[in-house]
Protein backbone atom coordinates (compact mmCIF):
# COMPACT_ATOMS: atom_id res chain seq x y z
CA UNK A 1 0.00 0.00 0.00
CA UNK A 2 1.45 3.28 -1.08
CA UNK A 3 0.22 5.17 1.95
CA UNK A 4 1.86 2.73 4.28
CA UNK A 5 5.10 3.01 2.37
CA UNK A 6 4.96 6.76 2.35
CA UNK A 7 4.34 6.61 6.06
CA UNK A 8 7.29 4.28 6.55
CA UNK A 9 9.42 6.68 4.53
CA UNK A 10 8.42 9.50 6.78
CA UNK A 11 9.28 7.52 9.84
CA UNK A 12 12.62 6.49 8.43
CA UNK A 13 13.49 10.10 7.83
CA UNK A 14 12.64 10.76 11.44
CA UNK A 15 9.71 13.05 10.91
CA UNK A 16 6.66 12.88 13.09
CA UNK A 17 3.54 12.43 11.03
CA UNK A 18 0.99 12.61 13.78
CA UNK A 19 -0.96 15.56 12.59
CA UNK A 20 -1.66 17.18 15.93
CA UNK A 21 1.97 17.54 16.82
CA UNK A 22 4.07 18.42 13.88
CA UNK A 23 7.44 19.89 13.23
CA UNK A 24 7.28 23.50 12.29
CA UNK A 25 10.46 23.28 10.27
CA UNK A 26 9.39 20.38 8.10
CA UNK A 27 9.74 21.00 4.41
CA UNK A 28 6.74 20.21 2.26
CA UNK A 29 8.23 21.63 -0.88
CA UNK A 30 8.02 18.37 -2.80
CA UNK A 31 4.30 18.33 -2.27
CA UNK A 32 4.03 21.67 -3.94
CA UNK A 33 6.44 21.17 -6.74
CA UNK A 34 5.38 17.82 -8.00
CA UNK A 35 1.74 17.22 -7.40
CA UNK A 36 0.19 19.71 -9.71
CA UNK A 37 -0.33 17.43 -12.68
CA UNK A 38 -1.40 13.91 -13.31
CA UNK A 39 2.01 12.92 -14.53
CA UNK A 40 3.42 14.53 -11.41
CA UNK A 41 1.10 12.46 -9.28
CA UNK A 42 2.35 9.30 -10.88
CA UNK A 43 5.87 10.15 -9.83
CA UNK A 44 4.60 10.05 -6.33
CA UNK A 45 3.67 6.39 -6.14
CA UNK A 46 5.25 3.73 -3.90
CA UNK A 47 8.91 3.85 -3.34
CA UNK A 48 9.30 7.50 -4.19
CA UNK A 49 10.56 9.54 -1.30
CA UNK A 50 8.92 12.54 0.16
CA UNK A 51 11.20 15.44 0.74
CA UNK A 52 10.38 15.96 4.34
CA UNK A 53 13.71 16.83 5.83
CA UNK A 54 14.28 20.34 7.02
CA UNK A 55 17.90 20.23 5.93
CA UNK A 56 16.90 20.17 2.29
CA UNK A 57 16.08 23.57 0.96
CA UNK A 58 12.87 23.95 -0.97
CA UNK A 59 14.75 25.63 -3.78
CA UNK A 60 16.78 22.49 -4.30
CA UNK A 61 13.89 21.22 -6.39
CA UNK A 62 14.30 23.67 -9.18
CA UNK A 63 12.22 23.33 -12.23
CA UNK A 64 11.82 25.36 -15.39
CA UNK A 65 9.70 27.98 -13.75
CA UNK A 66 11.71 28.35 -10.60
CA UNK A 67 10.48 31.83 -9.86
CA UNK A 68 6.93 30.64 -9.78
CA UNK A 69 8.02 27.80 -7.58
CA UNK A 70 9.61 30.12 -5.08
CA UNK A 71 6.61 32.35 -4.86
CA UNK A 72 4.52 29.34 -4.18
CA UNK A 73 6.65 28.14 -1.30
CA UNK A 74 6.41 31.57 0.23
CA UNK A 75 2.63 31.88 0.25
CA UNK A 76 1.33 30.08 3.35
CA UNK A 77 -1.63 27.72 3.19
CA UNK A 78 -3.22 29.74 5.95
CA UNK A 79 -1.92 33.24 6.67
CA UNK A 80 -0.45 33.35 10.16
CA UNK A 81 0.09 29.61 10.54
CA UNK A 82 3.00 27.39 9.56
CA UNK A 83 1.96 25.01 6.77
CA UNK A 84 2.22 21.87 8.87
CA UNK A 85 -0.27 23.24 11.37
CA UNK A 86 -2.53 24.33 8.53
CA UNK A 87 -2.37 20.79 7.15
CA UNK A 88 -3.15 19.37 10.58
CA UNK A 89 -6.35 21.44 10.45
CA UNK A 90 -7.24 20.78 6.84
CA UNK A 91 -6.99 16.98 7.04
CA UNK A 92 -9.79 17.10 9.63
CA UNK A 93 -12.27 18.66 7.23
CA UNK A 94 -14.86 16.09 6.12
CA UNK A 95 -14.48 14.74 2.61
CA UNK A 96 -17.82 16.17 1.54
CA UNK A 97 -16.24 19.67 1.75
CA UNK A 98 -13.07 18.87 -0.17
CA UNK A 99 -14.27 19.89 -3.63
CA UNK A 100 -15.12 23.29 -2.26
CA UNK A 101 -11.78 23.68 -0.49
CA UNK A 102 -10.00 23.03 -3.80
CA UNK A 103 -11.51 26.25 -5.10
CA UNK A 104 -10.11 28.50 -2.38
CA UNK A 105 -6.64 29.03 -3.87
CA UNK A 106 -4.00 27.27 -5.93
CA UNK A 107 -2.09 25.84 -3.01
CA UNK A 108 -5.23 24.34 -1.46
CA UNK A 109 -6.15 23.01 -4.86
CA UNK A 110 -2.80 21.25 -5.21
CA UNK A 111 -2.78 20.00 -1.63
CA UNK A 112 -6.27 18.52 -1.91
CA UNK A 113 -5.55 16.64 -5.10
CA UNK A 114 -2.42 14.96 -3.84
CA UNK A 115 -1.33 11.69 -2.34
CA UNK A 116 0.43 13.42 0.55
CA UNK A 117 -2.77 14.90 1.95
CA UNK A 118 -4.80 11.72 1.54
CA UNK A 119 -2.05 9.43 2.85
CA UNK A 120 -1.97 11.57 5.98
CA UNK A 121 -5.74 11.32 6.32
CA UNK A 122 -5.50 7.58 5.94
CA UNK A 123 -2.69 7.20 8.46
CA UNK A 124 -4.54 9.37 10.95
CA UNK A 125 -7.66 7.26 10.56
CA UNK A 126 -9.55 10.17 9.05
CA UNK A 127 -10.13 8.71 5.59
CA UNK A 128 -13.83 8.40 4.79
CA UNK A 129 -15.46 5.67 2.74
CA UNK A 130 -17.96 6.45 0.01
CA UNK A 131 -20.04 4.08 -2.06
CA UNK A 132 -19.50 4.35 -5.83
CA UNK A 133 -22.18 3.11 -8.17
CA UNK A 134 -21.84 2.44 -11.90
CA UNK A 135 -25.29 2.27 -13.35
CA UNK A 136 -26.85 1.65 -16.74
CA UNK A 137 -29.69 4.07 -17.27
CA UNK A 138 -32.74 3.46 -19.39
CA UNK A 139 -31.08 5.05 -22.38
CA UNK A 140 -28.40 2.33 -22.04
CA UNK A 141 -25.81 4.94 -21.08
CA UNK A 142 -23.45 4.28 -18.18
CA UNK A 143 -23.61 6.81 -15.34
CA UNK A 144 -21.40 7.16 -12.28
CA UNK A 145 -22.49 8.24 -8.77
CA UNK A 146 -21.01 8.46 -5.29
CA UNK A 147 -22.76 8.30 -1.94
CA UNK A 148 -21.43 9.71 1.31
CA UNK A 149 -22.88 7.46 4.02
CA UNK A 150 -22.06 9.84 6.88
CA UNK A 151 -23.78 12.90 5.48
CA UNK A 152 -26.12 10.66 3.49
CA UNK A 153 -25.68 12.67 0.32
CA UNK A 154 -25.24 11.68 -3.30
CA UNK A 155 -22.30 13.40 -4.93
CA UNK A 156 -21.83 14.34 -8.58
CA UNK A 157 -18.78 12.86 -10.29
CA UNK A 158 -16.92 13.41 -13.54
CA UNK A 159 -18.59 11.29 -16.24
CA UNK A 160 -17.20 7.91 -17.24
CA UNK A 161 -14.89 8.30 -20.29
CA UNK A 162 -16.47 7.84 -23.73
CA UNK A 163 -15.25 4.32 -24.45
CA UNK A 164 -17.18 3.09 -21.42
CA UNK A 165 -20.25 5.26 -21.86
CA UNK A 166 -22.19 2.40 -23.44
CA UNK A 167 -19.90 -0.55 -22.79
CA UNK A 168 -21.14 -4.02 -21.85
CA UNK A 169 -19.51 -6.79 -19.87
CA UNK A 170 -16.63 -4.75 -18.46
CA UNK A 171 -14.91 -5.36 -15.14
CA UNK A 172 -14.71 -3.04 -12.12
CA UNK A 173 -12.38 -3.26 -9.12
CA UNK A 174 -10.66 -1.11 -6.49
CA UNK A 175 -6.89 -1.01 -6.02
CA UNK A 176 -5.00 0.84 -3.29
CA UNK A 177 -8.28 1.76 -1.62
CA UNK A 178 -8.78 4.89 -3.69
CA UNK A 179 -8.55 3.88 -7.36
CA UNK A 180 -11.59 2.53 -9.16
CA UNK A 181 -10.59 0.54 -12.24
CA UNK A 182 -12.73 -0.22 -15.29
CA UNK A 183 -11.29 -2.74 -17.72
CA UNK A 184 -12.15 -4.77 -20.79
CA UNK A 185 -15.73 -5.02 -21.93
CA UNK A 186 -17.45 -4.58 -25.25
CA UNK A 187 -18.20 -1.30 -26.88
CA UNK A 188 -20.99 -1.50 -29.51
CA UNK A 189 -18.60 0.06 -32.02
CA UNK A 190 -15.14 -1.03 -30.99
CA UNK A 191 -16.05 -4.57 -30.07
CA UNK A 192 -13.99 -6.25 -27.34
CA UNK A 193 -11.59 -3.98 -25.49
CA UNK A 194 -8.19 -4.27 -23.92
CA UNK A 195 -8.62 -0.85 -22.38
CA UNK A 196 -7.97 -0.12 -18.67
CA UNK A 197 -8.87 3.18 -17.01
CA UNK A 198 -9.14 4.22 -13.40
CA UNK A 199 -10.83 6.95 -11.41
CA UNK A 200 -8.88 8.33 -8.46
CA UNK A 201 -10.91 9.47 -5.48
CA UNK A 202 -7.94 11.67 -4.58
CA UNK A 203 -7.66 13.64 -7.81
CA UNK A 204 -11.35 13.17 -8.72
CA UNK A 205 -10.27 12.39 -12.28
CA UNK A 206 -10.07 9.50 -14.70
CA UNK A 207 -6.64 8.25 -15.80
CA UNK A 208 -5.33 5.61 -18.22
CA UNK A 209 -3.54 2.45 -17.09
CA UNK A 210 -1.74 -0.11 -19.31
CA UNK A 211 -4.06 -2.19 -21.51
CA UNK A 212 -4.73 -5.81 -20.68
CA UNK A 213 -2.80 -8.39 -22.69
CA UNK A 214 -5.99 -9.81 -24.16
CA UNK A 215 -9.27 -8.32 -25.31
CA UNK A 216 -12.17 -9.73 -23.34
CA UNK A 217 -15.69 -9.09 -22.13
CA UNK A 218 -18.04 -10.84 -19.71
CA UNK A 219 -15.06 -12.13 -17.75
CA UNK A 220 -14.40 -12.57 -14.04
CA UNK A 221 -12.20 -10.29 -11.93
CA UNK A 222 -11.01 -9.92 -8.35
CA UNK A 223 -8.38 -8.20 -6.21
CA UNK A 224 -5.92 -10.17 -4.07
CA UNK A 225 -3.03 -8.43 -2.29
CA UNK A 226 -3.74 -5.24 -4.21
CA UNK A 227 -3.27 -7.03 -7.54
CA UNK A 228 -6.06 -7.20 -10.09
CA UNK A 229 -6.89 -10.62 -11.57
CA UNK A 230 -9.05 -11.25 -14.65
CA UNK A 231 -10.03 -14.60 -16.13
CA UNK A 232 -12.18 -16.21 -18.80
CA UNK A 233 -14.93 -14.42 -20.65
CA UNK A 234 -15.48 -13.92 -24.34
CA UNK A 235 -13.75 -12.13 -27.15
CA UNK A 236 -15.45 -10.73 -30.23
CA UNK A 237 -14.34 -12.50 -33.40
CA UNK A 238 -13.34 -15.68 -31.65
CA UNK A 239 -16.17 -18.16 -31.42
CA UNK A 240 -14.99 -19.91 -28.30
CA UNK A 241 -14.98 -18.97 -24.67
CA UNK A 242 -11.65 -17.92 -23.12
CA UNK A 243 -9.55 -19.95 -20.72
CA UNK A 244 -6.77 -17.43 -20.27
CA UNK A 245 -6.19 -15.31 -17.16
CA UNK A 246 -3.90 -12.42 -16.31
CA UNK A 247 -2.88 -10.21 -13.40
CA UNK A 248 -2.12 -6.50 -13.05
CA UNK A 249 0.25 -5.25 -10.37
CA UNK A 250 -0.12 -1.48 -9.87
CA UNK A 251 3.36 -1.25 -8.33
CA UNK A 252 4.95 -2.71 -11.45
CA UNK A 253 2.31 -1.04 -13.62
CA UNK A 254 2.24 -4.16 -15.75
CA UNK A 255 -0.03 -7.04 -16.79
CA UNK A 256 1.31 -10.62 -16.81
CA UNK A 257 -0.27 -13.93 -17.77
CA UNK A 258 -1.10 -16.46 -15.09
CA UNK A 259 -2.09 -20.12 -15.38
CA UNK A 260 -5.06 -20.82 -17.66
CA UNK A 261 -8.29 -22.13 -16.20
CA UNK A 262 -8.81 -25.87 -16.55
CA UNK A 263 -11.69 -25.21 -18.92
CA UNK A 264 -13.10 -22.13 -20.66
CA UNK A 265 -15.74 -20.17 -18.77
CA UNK A 266 -17.94 -17.09 -18.89
CA UNK A 267 -18.14 -16.35 -15.17
CA UNK A 268 -21.25 -14.78 -13.71
CA UNK A 269 -20.22 -14.70 -10.08
CA UNK A 270 -16.91 -14.52 -8.24
CA UNK A 271 -15.53 -13.98 -4.76
CA UNK A 272 -12.24 -14.14 -2.87
CA UNK A 273 -12.67 -16.34 0.16
CA UNK A 274 -10.16 -18.18 2.30
CA UNK A 275 -7.25 -16.97 0.12
CA UNK A 276 -8.79 -18.43 -3.01
CA UNK A 277 -10.62 -16.85 -5.91
CA UNK A 278 -13.85 -18.71 -6.64
CA UNK A 279 -15.56 -18.34 -10.00
CA UNK A 280 -18.85 -19.81 -11.10
CA UNK A 281 -20.04 -19.51 -14.68
CA UNK A 282 -21.05 -21.12 -17.92
CA UNK A 283 -18.68 -23.43 -19.76
CA UNK A 284 -18.36 -23.76 -23.51
CA UNK A 285 -21.39 -26.09 -23.65
CA UNK A 286 -23.46 -23.66 -21.55
CA UNK A 287 -23.12 -25.94 -18.53
CA UNK A 288 -22.75 -24.40 -15.07
CA UNK A 289 -19.28 -24.95 -13.65
CA UNK A 290 -17.00 -23.63 -10.88
CA UNK A 291 -13.29 -23.21 -10.44
CA UNK A 292 -11.00 -21.84 -7.76
CA UNK A 293 -7.64 -20.13 -8.23
CA UNK A 294 -4.91 -20.23 -5.62
CA UNK A 295 -2.47 -17.31 -6.19
CA UNK A 296 0.29 -18.85 -4.05
CA UNK A 297 0.65 -21.89 -6.30
CA UNK A 298 -0.74 -20.26 -9.47
CA UNK A 299 -3.14 -23.07 -10.29
CA UNK A 300 -6.84 -23.60 -10.96
CA UNK A 301 -8.93 -26.48 -9.72
CA UNK A 302 -12.58 -27.37 -10.32
CA UNK A 303 -14.78 -27.02 -7.23
CA UNK A 304 -17.94 -28.94 -6.43
CA UNK A 305 -18.96 -28.33 -2.87
CA UNK A 306 -21.83 -26.93 -0.90
CA UNK A 307 -20.39 -23.45 -1.09
CA UNK A 308 -20.62 -23.10 -4.88
CA UNK A 309 -23.86 -25.07 -5.00
CA UNK A 310 -25.77 -22.60 -2.83
CA UNK A 311 -23.85 -19.52 -3.90
CA UNK A 312 -25.70 -16.77 -5.73
CA UNK A 313 -25.46 -13.11 -6.65
CA UNK A 314 -24.90 -10.70 -5.08
CA UNK A 315 -22.40 -12.05 -2.58
CA UNK A 316 -19.49 -10.74 -0.53
CA UNK A 317 -16.64 -12.02 1.55
CA UNK A 318 -16.76 -9.91 4.71
CA UNK A 319 -14.64 -10.36 7.84
CA UNK A 320 -13.73 -13.88 6.76
CA UNK A 321 -17.33 -14.94 6.17
CA UNK A 322 -19.33 -15.37 3.01
CA UNK A 323 -22.67 -13.61 2.66
CA UNK A 324 -25.16 -13.77 -0.19
CA UNK A 325 -28.56 -12.30 -0.78
CA UNK A 326 -31.27 -14.81 0.04
CA UNK A 327 -34.14 -12.77 -1.28
CA UNK A 328 -34.66 -10.75 -4.45
CA UNK A 329 -34.56 -7.41 -2.62
CA UNK A 330 -31.80 -8.41 -0.19
CA UNK A 331 -34.14 -8.20 2.80
CA UNK A 332 -32.66 -11.51 3.89
CA UNK A 333 -29.02 -12.63 3.76
CA UNK A 334 -27.65 -16.14 3.93
CA UNK A 335 -24.31 -17.00 5.50
CA UNK A 336 -22.04 -19.85 4.47
CA UNK A 337 -21.08 -22.22 7.24
CA UNK A 338 -17.79 -23.95 6.55
CA UNK A 339 -18.32 -26.71 9.10
CA UNK A 340 -21.50 -28.06 7.54
CA UNK A 341 -20.48 -26.88 4.06
CA UNK A 342 -23.86 -25.29 3.59
CA UNK A 343 -25.60 -21.90 3.52
CA UNK A 344 -27.86 -22.78 6.40
CA UNK A 345 -27.60 -19.60 8.47
CA UNK A 346 -29.38 -16.39 7.66
CA UNK A 347 -30.02 -12.81 8.72
CA UNK A 348 -33.51 -11.50 8.25
CA UNK A 349 -34.69 -7.89 8.25
CA UNK A 350 -38.30 -9.11 8.36
CA UNK A 351 -39.17 -6.39 5.88
CA UNK A 352 -39.75 -7.53 2.36
CA UNK A 353 -39.76 -4.63 -0.07
CA UNK A 354 -40.84 -6.12 -3.36
CA UNK A 355 -39.91 -8.19 -6.36
CA UNK A 356 -39.66 -5.45 -8.98
CA UNK A 357 -36.46 -4.75 -10.88
CA UNK A 358 -36.13 -1.49 -8.95
CA UNK A 359 -35.92 -3.24 -5.58
CA UNK A 360 -33.51 -5.89 -6.78
CA UNK A 361 -30.43 -6.14 -4.56
CA UNK A 362 -27.65 -5.31 -7.01
CA UNK A 363 -24.58 -5.46 -4.80
CA UNK A 364 -23.23 -6.14 -1.35
CA UNK A 365 -20.33 -3.95 -0.17
CA UNK A 366 -18.55 -3.36 3.10
CA UNK A 367 -18.59 0.18 4.42
CA UNK A 368 -17.34 1.48 7.79
CA UNK A 369 -17.23 -2.07 9.10
CA UNK A 370 -20.83 -2.76 8.15
CA UNK A 371 -22.36 -4.68 5.31
CA UNK A 372 -24.41 -2.67 2.82
CA UNK A 373 -27.07 -3.81 0.40
CA UNK A 374 -27.46 -1.57 -2.64
CA UNK A 375 -30.57 -1.88 -4.73
CA UNK A 376 -31.25 -0.87 -8.31
CA UNK A 377 -33.32 2.11 -7.21
CA UNK A 378 -30.20 3.37 -5.39
CA UNK A 379 -31.60 2.70 -1.95
CA UNK A 380 -28.93 1.56 0.50
CA UNK A 381 -29.43 -0.54 3.58
CA UNK A 382 -26.75 -1.15 6.21
CA UNK A 383 -26.59 -4.30 8.34
CA UNK A 384 -24.49 -4.70 11.44
CA UNK A 385 -23.62 -8.34 10.81
CA UNK A 386 -20.87 -8.40 13.40
CA UNK A 387 -23.27 -7.62 16.22
CA UNK A 388 -22.69 -9.92 19.17
CA UNK A 389 -26.47 -10.08 19.67
CA UNK A 390 -27.51 -13.70 20.04
CA UNK A 391 -30.72 -13.05 18.17
CA UNK A 392 -28.92 -11.28 15.33
CA UNK A 393 -30.48 -13.71 12.89
CA UNK A 394 -33.89 -12.24 13.34
CA UNK A 395 -33.12 -8.86 14.85
CA UNK A 396 -34.53 -6.23 12.51
CA UNK A 397 -32.97 -3.33 14.46
CA UNK A 398 -29.54 -4.23 13.07
CA UNK A 399 -30.79 -3.09 9.66
CA UNK A 400 -30.71 0.59 8.84
CA UNK A 401 -31.70 2.41 5.68
CA UNK A 402 -29.15 5.11 4.90
CA UNK A 403 -30.40 6.19 1.50
CA UNK A 404 -33.98 6.17 0.34
CA UNK A 405 -34.95 5.09 -3.13
CA UNK A 406 -34.83 7.50 -6.02
CA UNK A 407 -32.75 10.50 -5.07
CA UNK A 408 -33.44 13.48 -7.27
CA UNK A 409 -31.04 12.51 -10.03
CA UNK A 410 -32.52 9.05 -10.48
CA UNK A 411 -36.00 10.43 -10.23
CA UNK A 412 -35.46 12.90 -13.02
CA UNK A 413 -33.65 10.49 -15.33
CA UNK A 414 -36.22 7.79 -14.72
CA UNK A 415 -39.05 10.18 -15.34
CA UNK A 416 -37.44 11.35 -18.54
CA UNK A 417 -36.81 7.78 -19.68
CA UNK A 418 -40.37 6.77 -19.03
CA UNK A 419 -41.59 9.70 -21.09
CA UNK A 420 -39.07 8.86 -23.80
CA UNK A 421 -40.53 5.43 -24.18
CA UNK A 422 -40.74 2.17 -22.34
CA UNK A 423 -38.49 -0.01 -24.39
CA UNK A 424 -38.11 -2.65 -21.73
CA UNK A 425 -34.64 -1.60 -20.59
CA UNK A 426 -34.82 -0.53 -16.97
CA UNK A 427 -32.07 1.36 -15.21
CA UNK A 428 -29.93 -0.94 -13.12
CA UNK A 429 -26.66 -1.04 -11.22
CA UNK A 430 -23.77 -2.64 -13.08
CA UNK A 431 -21.02 -2.31 -10.49
CA UNK A 432 -20.72 -1.04 -6.96
CA UNK A 433 -17.52 -0.35 -5.01
CA UNK A 434 -16.20 1.55 -2.00
CA UNK A 435 -13.39 4.12 -2.21
CA UNK A 436 -11.48 5.81 0.60
CA UNK A 437 -10.15 9.36 0.62
Amino acid sequence: MEAVEAYADLQRSGVRVQAPLVDSVTCYCRVDSSLKTVSGARKFVPGSKLCMRPDIKPHAHKSKNSRKERNRTHAPLLPGLPDDLAIACLIRVPRVEHRKLRLVCKRWHRLLAGNFFYSLRKNMGMAEEWVYVIKRDRDRKISFHAFDPIYQLWQPLPPVPGEYSEALGFGCAVLSGCHLYLFGGRDPLRRSMRRVIFYSARTNRWHRAPDMLRKRHFFGSCVINNCLYVAGGECEGIQRTLRSAEVYDPNKNKWTCIAEMSSPMVPFIGVVYDGKWFLKGLGSHRQVMSEAYLPATNNWAPVNDGMVAGWRNPSISFNGKLYASDCWDGCKLRVYDEVTDSWNKSLDSKLHLGNSRAWEAAALVSINGKLCIIRNNMSICMVDVSSPDKHAESNATLWENISGSGHLMTFVTNLWSSIAGRNGVKSHIVHCQVLQA
Partner: protein, 159 residues
Protein backbone atom coordinates in the same frame (compact mmCIF):
# COMPACT_ATOMS: atom_id res chain seq x y z
CA UNK B 1 -1.25 11.35 29.36
CA UNK B 2 -1.92 12.58 32.86
CA UNK B 3 -2.04 9.14 34.42
CA UNK B 4 1.12 9.64 36.44
CA UNK B 5 0.10 13.03 37.75
CA UNK B 6 -2.65 12.00 40.15
CA UNK B 7 -0.42 11.02 43.03
CA UNK B 8 1.36 14.36 43.07
CA UNK B 9 -1.47 16.63 42.00
CA UNK B 10 -0.77 19.22 44.69
CA UNK B 11 2.70 19.97 43.41
CA UNK B 12 3.10 23.39 41.82
CA UNK B 13 5.26 24.07 38.80
CA UNK B 14 6.61 27.51 38.08
CA UNK B 15 6.81 28.64 34.48
CA UNK B 16 7.98 31.86 32.88
CA UNK B 17 6.56 33.21 29.64
CA UNK B 18 8.63 34.96 26.96
CA UNK B 19 7.57 38.38 28.26
CA UNK B 20 8.81 37.56 31.73
CA UNK B 21 5.55 36.83 33.52
CA UNK B 22 5.75 34.00 36.05
CA UNK B 23 2.97 31.39 36.32
CA UNK B 24 2.32 28.86 39.02
CA UNK B 25 0.55 25.86 37.61
CA UNK B 26 -0.55 22.60 39.15
CA UNK B 27 1.63 19.78 38.01
CA UNK B 28 -1.30 17.77 36.65
CA UNK B 29 -2.12 20.64 34.30
CA UNK B 30 1.47 21.37 33.36
CA UNK B 31 2.13 17.73 32.53
CA UNK B 32 -0.47 17.88 29.76
CA UNK B 33 2.37 19.50 27.88
CA UNK B 34 4.83 16.94 26.60
CA UNK B 35 7.43 19.70 26.35
CA UNK B 36 7.20 20.51 30.05
CA UNK B 37 7.10 16.83 30.88
CA UNK B 38 10.33 16.25 28.99
CA UNK B 39 11.93 19.24 30.66
CA UNK B 40 10.95 17.90 34.07
CA UNK B 41 12.26 14.47 33.21
CA UNK B 42 15.53 16.18 32.38
CA UNK B 43 15.43 17.44 35.95
CA UNK B 44 14.81 21.12 35.75
CA UNK B 45 11.73 20.88 37.94
CA UNK B 46 13.21 22.77 40.85
CA UNK B 47 13.85 25.85 38.81
CA UNK B 48 11.54 28.10 36.93
CA UNK B 49 10.85 26.59 33.52
CA UNK B 50 11.29 29.16 30.77
CA UNK B 51 8.94 29.15 27.80
CA UNK B 52 10.65 31.47 25.33
CA UNK B 53 8.10 30.91 22.57
CA UNK B 54 4.91 31.69 24.48
CA UNK B 55 3.66 35.10 25.60
CA UNK B 56 1.67 35.58 28.80
CA UNK B 57 -1.79 36.25 27.27
CA UNK B 58 -1.49 33.18 25.10
CA UNK B 59 -0.26 31.08 27.97
CA UNK B 60 -3.31 32.14 30.00
CA UNK B 61 -5.49 30.84 27.20
CA UNK B 62 -3.59 27.57 27.02
CA UNK B 63 -3.96 26.91 30.75
CA UNK B 64 -7.61 27.89 30.68
CA UNK B 65 -8.30 25.44 27.90
CA UNK B 66 -6.23 22.72 29.51
CA UNK B 67 -8.38 22.99 32.62
CA UNK B 68 -11.60 23.05 30.62
CA UNK B 69 -10.47 20.06 28.67
CA UNK B 70 -9.72 18.12 31.84
CA UNK B 71 -13.18 19.02 33.20
CA UNK B 72 -15.10 17.97 30.14
CA UNK B 73 -13.60 14.51 29.80
CA UNK B 74 -16.86 12.74 30.57
CA UNK B 75 -19.18 15.62 29.84
CA UNK B 76 -20.63 15.67 26.35
CA UNK B 77 -22.36 19.00 26.82
CA UNK B 78 -19.13 20.75 27.74
CA UNK B 79 -17.32 19.01 24.94
CA UNK B 80 -19.81 20.48 22.50
CA UNK B 81 -19.50 23.89 24.10
CA UNK B 82 -15.73 23.84 23.86
CA UNK B 83 -15.85 22.71 20.27
CA UNK B 84 -18.18 25.54 19.35
CA UNK B 85 -15.90 28.21 20.82
CA UNK B 86 -13.56 27.98 17.86
CA UNK B 87 -16.06 29.59 15.52
CA UNK B 88 -16.17 32.76 17.63
CA UNK B 89 -12.44 32.97 18.14
CA UNK B 90 -11.67 32.44 14.47
CA UNK B 91 -14.17 35.09 13.46
CA UNK B 92 -13.28 37.68 16.06
CA UNK B 93 -9.55 37.17 16.48
CA UNK B 94 -7.82 34.88 13.97
CA UNK B 95 -4.47 36.26 15.08
CA UNK B 96 -4.93 34.96 18.62
CA UNK B 97 -6.07 31.66 17.19
CA UNK B 98 -2.82 31.31 15.22
CA UNK B 99 -0.76 32.20 18.27
CA UNK B 100 -2.71 29.79 20.44
CA UNK B 101 -2.26 26.99 17.96
CA UNK B 102 1.45 27.61 17.60
CA UNK B 103 1.84 27.69 21.37
CA UNK B 104 -0.08 24.45 21.73
CA UNK B 105 2.12 22.89 19.08
CA UNK B 106 5.26 24.19 20.78
CA UNK B 107 4.14 22.97 24.20
CA UNK B 108 3.16 19.67 22.58
CA UNK B 109 -0.29 19.27 24.13
CA UNK B 110 -2.08 16.61 22.17
CA UNK B 111 -5.61 17.14 23.44
CA UNK B 112 -5.52 20.87 22.71
CA UNK B 113 -3.87 20.32 19.36
CA UNK B 114 -6.77 18.10 18.37
CA UNK B 115 -9.21 20.67 19.66
CA UNK B 116 -7.71 23.73 17.97
CA UNK B 117 -7.22 21.90 14.66
CA UNK B 118 -10.82 20.72 14.84
CA UNK B 119 -11.92 24.33 15.40
CA UNK B 120 -10.56 25.37 12.06
CA UNK B 121 -11.90 22.26 10.32
CA UNK B 122 -15.37 22.98 11.74
CA UNK B 123 -15.00 26.63 10.82
CA UNK B 124 -14.54 25.72 7.15
CA UNK B 125 -17.66 23.54 7.07
CA UNK B 126 -20.57 24.93 5.12
CA UNK B 127 -18.75 28.09 4.02
CA UNK B 128 -18.30 29.05 0.40
CA UNK B 129 -14.78 29.37 -1.04
CA UNK B 130 -15.29 33.12 -1.28
CA UNK B 131 -16.28 33.43 2.37
CA UNK B 132 -13.36 31.24 3.45
CA UNK B 133 -10.95 33.51 1.56
CA UNK B 134 -12.51 36.59 3.07
CA UNK B 135 -12.48 35.35 6.67
CA UNK B 136 -9.03 33.79 6.60
CA UNK B 137 -7.48 36.50 4.41
CA UNK B 138 -6.41 34.09 1.69
CA UNK B 139 -5.68 35.59 -1.69
CA UNK B 140 -7.56 34.16 -4.63
CA UNK B 141 -4.69 33.44 -7.01
CA UNK B 142 -6.78 31.69 -9.64
CA UNK B 143 -7.33 33.53 -12.88
CA UNK B 144 -11.03 33.65 -13.80
CA UNK B 145 -10.28 31.16 -16.58
CA UNK B 146 -8.63 28.71 -14.19
CA UNK B 147 -11.49 29.01 -11.75
CA UNK B 148 -14.01 28.40 -14.51
CA UNK B 149 -12.03 25.40 -15.69
CA UNK B 150 -11.96 23.79 -12.26
CA UNK B 151 -15.64 24.45 -11.82
CA UNK B 152 -16.41 23.01 -15.21
CA UNK B 153 -14.23 19.97 -14.67
CA UNK B 154 -15.79 19.18 -11.38
CA UNK B 155 -19.27 20.35 -12.22
CA UNK B 156 -20.55 20.50 -8.71
CA UNK B 157 -23.14 22.88 -7.49
CA UNK B 158 -22.37 25.86 -5.29
CA UNK B 159 -24.70 28.20 -3.60
Amino acid sequence: MASTSNSTSSKIITLRSSDGEVFEVEESVALESNLIRRMMEDDCANNIIPLPNVTAPIFYLVIEHCKKHAEMKDNKEKKKELRSQGEELLKSDPHTYSNLMEAVNYLDIKSLMDLTAQWLADFLKGKSPRLIRELLKIKNDFTPEEEAEILERNRWAFD
